[in-house]
Amino acid sequence: MRVSLTWLREYVDFDLAPEELAHRLTMAGLEVSGIERIGGEWDNILVGSVARLGPHPNADRLRLATVDTGAEQVEVVCGAPNVAPGQKIVFARAGARLTHPETGERETLKAARIRGVVSNGMICSERELGLGDDHDGILVLPDDAVPGAALEDYLGDVILDVEVTANRPDCLSMLGVAWEVAALTGNPVRMPSTEYAAEGDPITTADLVDLRAPELVPRYTSALVTGITVGPAPGWMQLRLQAAGVRPISNVVDITNYVMLETGQPLHAFDRAALAGGRLIVRRATTDEPLTTLDGRAHTLSTEDLVIADENGPVGLGGIMGGENSEVSDSTRDIILESASFDFANTRRTVQRHRIEVGGKRGTEASQRFERNLPITLPPVGLRRAAKMLVELCGGVAAQGIADDWPGRHEPATVTMTSERMRNVLGMDPGLETSARTLRSLGFDVSVADGPDGAYTITATVPPWRTDIGIADDLIEEVARIIGYDAIPVTLLPPTGEPDVPDPLTRLKDDVRDALARLGNQETISYPLVPMELLRTTIPGDAPQDPLRVWNRMSPDQEYLRTTLRGSLLRTLATNERGIGRESYRLFEIGQAYLPRGPRHQPEERTYVCGVLAGARAARSWIGGNAAAPDEMDFFDAKGLVESLLETINVRARYEAADDRILAHGRTARILAEDENRPIGVLGEVHPDTLAALDIRASRVVLYEIDLQAALSHREERDRAWQPVSRYPGLRRELALLVDETSPAGAVADIIRNFPSVMTSALVDVYQGPQVPDGQKSLAFSLVWQSPMRTLTDHEVDVAQAQLLDKLRRETGAVLRS
């Protein structure tokens, strides 16, 4: 809302500088997002009138104008096509600072000789005054401008751009803002008059309106003004509308806009002669009923829409926009003025359904106000104010009475607040005197009751425009925001004694993040909304559950909630490969997959960590021979990473060969929790077809995915018991075993690792070839045998090793290689 300070002063006095006023309004909740100055550098610029106009002796396209400045007559040369005798214009004397119409620079005006004639000043265009872009002709002022007045006094103004929050429809009006200023300054508000002489015949509601959809129009008021003369509105009104950003059209339309800006009540004027039947019908539209609104858009309506109609059909979309057919024209004489309460929800839905917008903003000036639920008491106020202006400014005759088909009666709301509540909410109490005065200054009717020890109770009657006030805490906010939040003390919360540790999953996620970052991986975060194509390409199983779909997607690329993070990571890899790319990628993301649980249920949001590795294991460097094709990362890089990760978060896991739709057969492992054999994730090399489908350049990409909720249930949360370090020397032994080539080495390694007195073991060689029988492979382990109690003898180790070999042979078929 654009608030002209000149206009605002009509309702309230204030002597604050615009910046200070803007600051105080902002602090109190009415944010001023901009301050615009009109004028301010207009020395030597005044209102003038064109007394005479004659030809220039030496130039056809120039003329000599005699300008009356009130005190003197000055002859100037003028080239504007629109200059005419009798016009009120802006006259700049030598010394004025004007904007050059071509360069935009500000220059000082000097008396000059133009084609042989001395010009002692000039008649200015909008652009030269810095008021706008128009330079096609001179700026013609309204007739009521007085020659000799400084332009600054006539046109100068400061406009505050005010952001109005959703709870304050009253501040979409000058009067609403005036009440704020009144409260901040302590000055009273001057309410504009709605009294006028009604000299026409009496009217009844039925003369003007047939209200057939009262459920969508809680209150519909109208008035009849006859015999008006349509023409331009008075200059002061045009200037104020322009300051508010509204284009002046004609006195009738301008009055409805003016009253809307002043009181907040949108109004509409209908040409009675253009209405078939001479009255308005307020009804629901019929199915597929057509209506072309003033903006030229054709709409097909439904019974959900409310229309204003005559006997021939709709003439407007109620509370939103008029139609093309009943607008006021130059020949209009009699007007039915509408001032109503349209149902806020229905207005909102109609605006959404028909995508009504003006200047890129949703809705119209009228609908934006109705959607915020204007007070039910407002329609007759706006109606009378506008009728008064039609009578006084357009020469109309108002019929006696108004049509007001409102069955209800407004009981002003009263709200009670105590000093105790004030202290409970704010932590302070400004005192009875301040609280009561503040509320009164905002238009509340206040009665007070004193209690013991300074306690008090305030009962406040809410002014009708403050539809946002309903409970004691609303009054508390009113007091707090006007005295200023700075007046409230600063205290600290006492300790609660409650635990402040985050929940276990949150902690696990943080631990996984830290571990992976420390192990050289970069965290990424992607949109969880993905296209169907990406899900099809990356879901692990063959039969996907139907992913959840967004009904009003922003784009097809963000239509479905992901059921796996794999696509996100692979796509991030593909995006980063574009251009020159990188030598290697180590990426991960922690986030949710959204697993549907049937319609009308929240999905299961399961937290996964997913990561990819691709590219060179070691950065290309002068160390290591500058290989053009360095070693690429493979399955075992990812496996080592997963092993380190799980060790860090205290989850014991084992691995077994597995198949996965998007991973390569033979290079894929399932990750199982060691204690229960439950799968907690998967890791493997991504199938070349998947890479191709996602336009990934890397030839080998390893992916891992771990279900963190599953991992959490296997996390050892207890502190691990300390193991004493043996003081006795260990014995190192090498063990070369032969096993079937298809037999997993992991099973052999697990038995060795868990065998008593084996302190450490490492698989140091896997070999197939000469000296190893066909169909078998050799596994070489390096073991340290050690006891915490004593020094083991060679003989004891021999015996233990024999037992180990026996167990290995029985359980895996492994034999000692001889």
């Binding site: 959703a166 909410v425 302070m428 600063v490 600290l492 540790v501 985050p502 779909r549 949001e605």
Partner: protein
Amino acid sequence: MSTLTDELIDVETRALEELGRVADVDALEQWRVTYQGRRHGRLPNLLERLPALPVEERREAGRQANRVRSALESAYTERRAALERAHVTQRLSAEAIDVTLPGRRAHSGGLHPTTRTLREIIEAFRPMGFRVVEGPEVEWDYYNFEALNIPADHPARDQWDTLWLDSEDDEGKRPLLLRTHTSPMQVRVMEAQQPPVRVLVPGRVFRHEATDASHESVFFQVEGLAVDRGVTFADLKGTLYTFARRMFGPDRRVRFRCDFFPFVEPGVDMAIDCFGCRGAGCRTCGQSGWLEIMGAGMVHPGVLKRVGYDPDIYTGFAFGMGPERIAMLRHGIDDIRHFYANDLGFLEQF
């Protein structure tokens, strides 16, 4: 004929002379065998003759022999040490490197800037007793709106353009949505526990909004909630002051002004003085000198009633902020869309 003594002195002289010419450890070893070798060394050979000498001569020769032996031994030890020293020095100088060549780097990983900022925010609040909890991103209309005083068709819904899930209830309404803020967790937390409540809720939120340099359709928020007997607006100010100082530095100025959110009353907008201009006005702060970083307020009694808390007994405050905005202000990032485009060139800078 020379005496044994003379011969000993002669051997000593020659030996020391030769030792001076020994250039490496092998030659030194050869020298040792020649003069001191147990079997045929020249000194042991002479000493074999000692027992045969007459007594008076033997005493003199014996003394002389001991002296020569220890002289040769210490000359040998000294020479050996010198040669070894020279050897190490030589090896080291042969192994000299260009220390300006780049080293072997470990792979460096990193956390997303949003994660880092969220952690800093959480760490600033944790000492004040705020516990971290998380909630669902797919949410019911009830929790996202209705329970927070935002009924259907309420004009305030415009503040939260919503992505709805394709799912209808019996009345043909769409009850599921992608949460537009983390505030629904206020209701969930209070439904699940009795006061005192003091939680912090980080999480992802969604908006049906065209993206530009300052708008994303998917971003993060951190919500805070404290409810108990006697929690006041003054406590809210104290909590947010403390946060601002920890997060942005001890000399930060803080501004609280009135603002509107349907689920709080009174409502608050908190701003800090602009890093760029320290309050004088610049482009970052839109000439205002202030950077708005969070919305807050006292929990609306209607919200408390809905979760079964008696608003006459319990009061509380809530606040919410966006980590991306804070990261943008701190690092001078001019476009929020960088955050979730996952360009490594961006991510690796943090």
